[in-house]
Amino acid sequence: MEPIVAGLLDALSPVTLLFVLGGVVAGVAVGAIPGLNGPMAIALCIPLTYYMSPLAAIGFLVGLNKGAFYGGSISAILLRTPGTPEAAATTWDGYALACQGRGEKALRMALYASVSGDFLSTMALIVVAAPLATVALYMGPPEMFALICLALTIIAGIGTGSLLRGLVAAGLGLLVGTVGTEPVTALPRLTFDVYQLDRGLSLIPVAIGMLAFSEILIQLERRVRRGGGQQSAVSFSAEPEARYVSWGEYRDSLRTILRSTAIGVGVGAMPGLGAPVASFVGYDQARKRSSKPEEFGSGRLEGVAASEAANSAVVGGSLIPLFVLGIPGNLAVAVLMGAFMIHGMMPGPLLFEQNAQLMYGIFGSLIVASFLLLIVGRLGLKLFCKAVQVPAAVLYPIVIFTCLMGSYLTESSTFDVKVMLFFGFLGYLMRKADFSYVAFLIGFILVPEWERALQQVVIASQYNPYLFLTRPVAVMLMLLTFFVVLKALVGAFRRHKYDGVETAAGG
């Protein structure tokens, strides 16, 4: 009991509070800027933590990560350019709400859902870490392979109306993700003798191009066609109803928030699946279980809450395997693990025995960071709302310049800028032709883990496919995947009746 109290008191010391607050503020700012994200910010800030105590350092970095998760929703809602990939699902309803003049309300709901999801996931981390991590421990390569297949199939149905188009986009994402050094032979694959491709394509330029740059191109195109004028996303209503989230509205979304939090914690605890998967699955579940699924995508608060609660809940969930097993669940936690090691700690079960006070101090910092995020988000909301009332002629060039420099920043490589431009163009084409850029990106993100699992299955089974039959969970997941695909395809062929309407732009 003594280490618990001492650890929690450490978390409440002024110095630790100050660093956690600094981390949250910086994280929100970083997350709001397209091209900058939590893992990048953590990596860049690790040198700053050399001069901090271990608790202050970890508190600062965790605050940074939490802030970035919420910050990603700000540009997603106000500009429809997700600051971080996990905020992509927030754009669907958040931006639609902003277009209706209810952007401030969407931001508030995103904040409350983020803080709720984040706080509850932290509690889950503290209370049920060990049992959940034990489940993940039983997942071998066959289960991981099957789980990614299922995740890709589910995601392919989101982002566009057609599963066929979604799977084409996911297939393209998988293909692009295989560019680079092949893991078994360590030889270049699909690099076309371009040496910069040997290391593969970085996620940041690809994501900035697909999500941010192509979106700006389309928004500018619309603006030119409309003949200028202010973009609708930045027109806020002065009506209190359109600005504040009432208790009733929060209560209406509470079930969704709790469900999404559970999804976020579960997905976060599974190594390899990150916050984007959680937010898309959370959103999909909210839509499917809603009494008004047809309203999703056209500006429903529940949609924002579902996505934000799920992706914020991943923060706590992803720390479960790290703290209990020493396995990083996602990129941000992998970087965080590096910070632990720099400060002389090896994350894992032994940490509870060797540094119990520090561990409970970190748990305390996680809780404190949730409350600080609420305060920072509420106080900064007005500022964010004012900030986006910048004229489009000023805002868009700055965003484009940030996209270009953000791509460069990843690895200080001008090649990444070219990659970003290419994928911006590809994203523009995919959006115009109604192919899901989300499925593309998830395929791109998941392919290394998918291929690793496949290689392990092939090597362990020595090309014997019956290995799967000895793994009931893997069999169940694969059957579920086939069922989802079959159901969607049969449904598509039964329902499908094509109309020959002229395209709006004559394209």
Partner: protein, 167 residues
């Protein structure tokens, strides 16, 4: 061009591209089989196979709908048309002139930075972009360009410690 015709062209292009990848690109640009594990070409082949299969299915489905003269929804979307235009996609025609206007200056930025330096190239780029976005006030445009470029310069040079392009 009707939407079904355009979709047909898109799916034919994807199917043809997939065949080229399966028959030529993937075998030519994949490492040889090392004798254990899965072949390096397996995952690319599966990815392209998915694209090919889905495109062919889409073509078959559209062709059957087109020749049977059925009218109805454009695809199997469960999402409302209104929602599609608000967040799921931005289906419509392309404006190549618009694309060229914005992508060409972006593509030229890095070579120009390497040639004349970050600050002058950045300021020129911001001025051009603002003009293309409809900004006509020279003073406002200059102030924004100077502000944005200097903030990014300071952040990258002193904040993140990143070597600037061309330095």
């Amino acid at each position: 061009m009707t939407r079904i015709q355009r979709d047909g062209v898109i799916h034919v292009c994807i199917a043809l591209g997939s065949v080229i990848f399966l028959l030529w690109v993937i075998p030519a640009y994949s490492p040889p089989y090392p004798g254990y594990g899965a072949r390096a070409s397996l995952v690319p082949n599966v990815s392209v196979g998915i694209m090919l299969a889905m495109s062919v299915l889409a073509l078959v489905r559209n062709a059957s709908a087109y020749f049977s003269g059925k009218a109805g929804r454009p695809d199997e979307s469960e999402y409302p048309e209104e929602g599609r235009s608000n967040g799921f996609s931005q289906v419509g025609g392309m404006d190549l002139w618009h694309l060229a206007r914005f992508i060409i200056p972006c593509a030229l930025l890095i070579p120009v930075i390497e040639w004349v330096g970050f600050i002058p190239a950045g300021i020129a780029f911001m001025l051009v972009m603002q003009y293309l976005c409809g900004q006509r006030g020279l003073v406002a445009a200059t102030l924004v360009a100077l502000g944005a470029v200097f903030v990014l310069y300071i952040a990258m040079r002193y904040g993140f410690g990143v070597p600037l392009p061309g330095s």
